[in-house]
């Protein structure tokens, strides 16, 4: 029988050294007695052998970090269970990784209890300011954790409160942080901390952030168990808050609506939007009016109206189908992948400035998981949105128009027949101007291999043709 005594502070290092030695000598778990602090020696037991034994002892990094946590647990079986796991690990390295293994599960449960205790300490320590001799402010706190977590939990405070000195005293030990150095000391009697004015403000906040209409005591008690309350100044208010809650809610319900303060009417009048003209008188006015368009249902889901962009005096208008995901977010047409293709093709065709716009000005999509998938607008949506396209054309007065894809071709000409036969042809718009029909750049992105190369070449070809037509007009 061997005995290992773990100290109150620095227990992990002692446990690790002893466990490694014992395991290297092949000492079985049931032959080791682990105890904490100095206590009466009930059994006739020897300290572990002084040097390492014959066997090589291995442990994973994960196990060591598990051990560091579990060893904080106040249960007396914790060090023994850990040794058992280490001993078994030498022959059966898979068991620790199996969540259904009873010992692994038990250790996981101990670890969870410790990390919950650590988390609650991070949450529920309440500092009070104490007089300071130097230029750093000083604070002190008293806390009663369930487990031996002071060494594990306090580096958090050192990182967080780097510019102040503080002391956290617990019944097991005391942590002190002075001038950037964290030290641990044996337990001392509970310190008498002076009153702190901020506590009253904190209590005011606590009482007023509470919503009396949604009492949920069970949630409060499970997250902030009663055992912590005695060291939390704000909890003193809880009985009173609860007592008044029902009456406060009843009073809210019973109260008749009051008349609005005098300033309300004045302010709201000032916020009234000015009268809107039935028919916008300029391109700018049309853009403003379109931003609040509700002619079809697309505005509910889309982010915003994407109005045309570019040079309004260029004489050329390029009309696409509708904004895509990126255009919808940015509020500008052709800034996504299809826009990239179009801009490259325009550069290749050496086409100068143009006015870029879409037949439908809101993005239509459906959501699948985390993505928004483009959906083609239907005939009704295109027809509703033609109001804006027609207005845009009235102000831009393009001499030439390029229709990208079937939606734009339909919106401009009223002809919904398939695009393949029409591509590269010049048709006549409803308002009389010439419309050259070509692929939508996103069509070239959807093709693969030779078809993609060809579609792209045809797009460039049509843009070149557009430039030639521009030179003639």
């Amino acid at each position: 029988m061997y005995r290992v005594t773990l100290p109150d502070l620095g227990a992990f290092d002692v446990w690790r050294d002893s466990a490694r030695t014992l395991a290297s000598h092949g000492v079985r778990p049931e032959d080791v007695l682990w105890q904490r602090g100095e206590s009466a020696d009930l059994f006739d037991a020897a300290p572990p052998p002084s040097g390492p034994g014959a066997a090589q002892v291995t442990a994973t990094k994960d196990f060591l970090s598990l051990a560091k946590s579990v060893l904080c647990h106040s249960a007396s079986e914790a060090p023994g269970l850990l040794y058992h796991a280490l001993y078994r690990h030498q022959d059966d390295p898979g068991a620790l990784g199996n969540p259904a293994d009873p010992l692994t599960r038990k250790l996981a449960r101990l670890q969870k209890a410790v990390s919950r205790d650590v988390h609650k300490m991070h949450a529920f320590v309440r500092f009070r300011e104490v007089p300071s001799s130097g230029n750093r402010r000083a604070f002190g706190a008293w806390f009663e954790p369930d487990h031996l977590i002071l060494e594990k939990a306090t580096p958090f405070f050192a990182k967080r409160f780097g510019d102040m000195d503080w002391t956290i005293a617990t019944p097991q030990a005391v942590a002190r942080f002075e001038d950037g150095a964290l030290t641990f000391h044996p337990p001392a009697p509970r310190p008498d901390l002076p009153e702190d004015a901020s506590e009253a403000l904190w209590s005011t906040y606590f009482a007023n952030i509470f919503n009396p209409a949604r009492i949920h005591l069970q949630a409060m008690r499970s997250e902030m168990p009663l055992k912590y309350w005695k060291n939390l100044p704000e909890t003193r208010l809880i009985p009173e808050m609860l007592e008044n809650a029902e009456a406060r809610v009843a009073a809210m319900r019973a109260a008749l609506p009051t008349t609005a303060p005098a300033r309300a009417e004045r302010i709201l009048e000032r916020l009234q939007p000015g009268p809107v003209a039935d028919l916008p008188a300029s391109l700018g006015e049309a853009q403003v009016a379109a931003a609040h368009c509700r002619r079809c249902g697309l505005c509910e889901a889309a982010t915003q109206t994407v109005w045309g962009d570019g040079d309004p005096d260029a004489g050329i208008m390029i009309v696409g189908e509708q904004p895509g995901d990126q255009e919808d977010l940015a509020g500008r047409p052709f800034v996504g992948p299809a826009g990239q293709v179009l801009k490259e093709a325009m550069a290749q065709a050496e086409l100068g400035p143009v006015w870029l716009t879409n037949a439908v000005k809101h993005f239509k999509f459906r959501t699948t998981g985390k993505r928004r998938i483009h959906q083609a607008p239907n005939r009704g949506e295109i027809d509703h949105c033609r109001w804006w396209l027609d207005l845009e054309r009235r102000f831009i007065k393009p001499r030439l128009t390029l229709a990208l894809g079937a939606t734009a071709a339909y919106a401009l000409t009223g002809d919904a027949s398939p695009l393949r036969a029409r591509r590269g042809m010049v048709e006549t718009a409803r308002d009389g101007g010439p419309v050259l029909v070509t692929w939508h750049p996103s069509f070239t992105l959807r093709q693969s291999g030779q078809a993609a190369v060809q579609a792209r070449a045809e797009l460039v070809e049509d843009l070149t043709k557009l430039r030639a037509m521009q030179a003639q007009t």
Partner: protein, 409 residues
């Protein structure tokens, strides 16, 4: 007579409590080892709980509750007779730091009524965040509510100081917003979220020199929807949420049961806050984000488009789609395991790991932490078969609370 700091705090905390968000997790890792005060970046910490069961993680206050808007559901609307107050920037900074040093909070959640103009209000809020970060080296968490109509420059600066930015959509349908919050524009709110998303995206892309731009709102953006103030059903609410997640990459959508406010508006009578509905919406939200469900599946069990209040949405889906069950726990893929009532994401992960060490039996699942009382009609194991249980007519009744006899008194 000017109000004392305590009086202001009471008014401006009271005005802020209808915002549900209090998250302080998932931001960039930093601490005060070298300089300054504070740390952030781990999981959030809830420093206290009030009797409403909500946590206090941040100092959640309004800069001012004066507001020029008239939103019927809001305690701070211009037509309300509620008492008004305004913090000076120095007061907010000092409260935040003093609370922080005493370990009361993780940081600041600053919101505000709209005073003078959206830009003026946003500029004041940005100034407070700048003072905390630059003058006081504050490394704790900052959540700023953005004013949708504020200029892009101000939003851009806010994102440099704040961990999280949020704009509340408040109502799930545009027509409700127009009716109850006439000064708000749904399209402007969405455009503000889109711009935050794009700014976050840009801040993660390296420039051609390989230099990384400053982090922009590293903890992302969130929003809140009020439940029960308008006629929207749960399908409307979840569809809107799903669009917000996919479109603007929101970290969270919060659902807030419409709760009685002092001096309520005649336009919106007070109701008992629909807390169970709120809870079911959160469960459904989790199914959307972590369990691979889509809105139509979640809202399909009931023709009204509302969720079943008596049982959770995953169980409701399983009961309505029993053809998919029972599932063989030792063979099913992750997607299907996630659909078993009683199995959470963590349970599924453990099942998948444990399966490598051999077939799982009933007792193993209990040890792993699965809620087998819920799961057993829906799974098969080497030592368990639900037999006819999966298809019994009264299966739903097993999961609902026993009907209560009405009290005679």
């Amino acid at each position: 007579m000017p109000k004392t700091l305590t009086e202001k705090l009471a008014i401006l905390a009271d005005a802020a409590k209808y915002d549900a968000s209090c998250a302080s997790s998932g931001t960039s890792r930093r601490d005060s080892t070298k300089d300054g005060i504070g740390s952030a970046g781990g999981s959030g910490i809830c420093h206290a709980y009030t009797p409403d069961g909500r946590c206090i993680s941040l100092l959640k206050i309004l800069m001012t509750n004066f507001c020029i808007f008239d939103c019927a559901y809001c305690i701070n609307r211009v037509s309300s007779g509620v008492e008004r107050a305004r913090f000076s920037p120095e007061e907010v900074v000092s409260l935040t730091l003093e609370f922080y040093r005493r370990n009361y909070i993780e940081g600041l959640f600053l919101s505000s009524g709209i005073i003078r103009s959206p830009d003026d209000t946003m500029a004041d809020m940005v100034r407070i965040a700048r003072m905390l970060r630059q003058d006081h080296g504050f490394k704790g968490y900052i959540h700023l509510k953005t004013i949708p109509e504020a200029s892009q420059e101000l939003i851009g600066e806010a994102g440099l100081y704040a961990d999280r930015l949020s704009v509340n959509i408040e109502l799930p349908r545009d027509d409700s917003t127009r009716q109850l919050a006439p000064q708000k524009k749904p399209e402007t709110i969405r455009a503000a979220m889109a711009s935050v998303r794009l700014k976050r995206q840009e801040s993660r892309e390296r420039s051609h020199t390989g230099k990384r731009p400053a982090r922009f709102a590293p903890a992302g953006q969130s929003t809140q929807m009020i439940v029960g103030a308008d006629a929207a059903n749960d399908r409307d609410i979840l569809s809107t949420a799903s669009r917000l997640y996919s479109g603007y990459k929101l970290k969270r959508v919060y659902y807030s049961a419409f709760s009685p406010i002092p001096d309520s508006s005649a336009a919106l009578p007070l109701i008992k806050p629909p807390l169970i509905r709120e809870h079911r919406l959160y469960q459904a939200d989790w199914l959307l984000r972590f369990y691979g469900f889509d809105v139509d599946e979640i809202t399909s069990p009931r023709p009204t488009g509302d969720l079943d209040l008596e049982i959770d949405p995953k169980l409701a889906w399983a009961l309505a789609n029993r053809a998919h069950f029972p599932v063989d726990v030792n063979r099913a893929g992750r997607d299907m395991l996630l659909r078993v009532p009683g199995f959470g994401t963590r349970t599924v992960k453990r099942i998948l790991t444990a399966r490598r060490s051999g077939a799982l039996r009933y007792g193993d699942l209990i040890r792993i932490g699965a809620r087998m009382n819920t799961a057993k009609p829906f799974v098969t194991l080497p030592d368990w078969s639900p037999g006819a249980l999966t298809d019994t007519d009264d299966l739903r009744a097993r999961f609902t609370p026993a009907p209560q006899q009405l009290s005679l008194f």
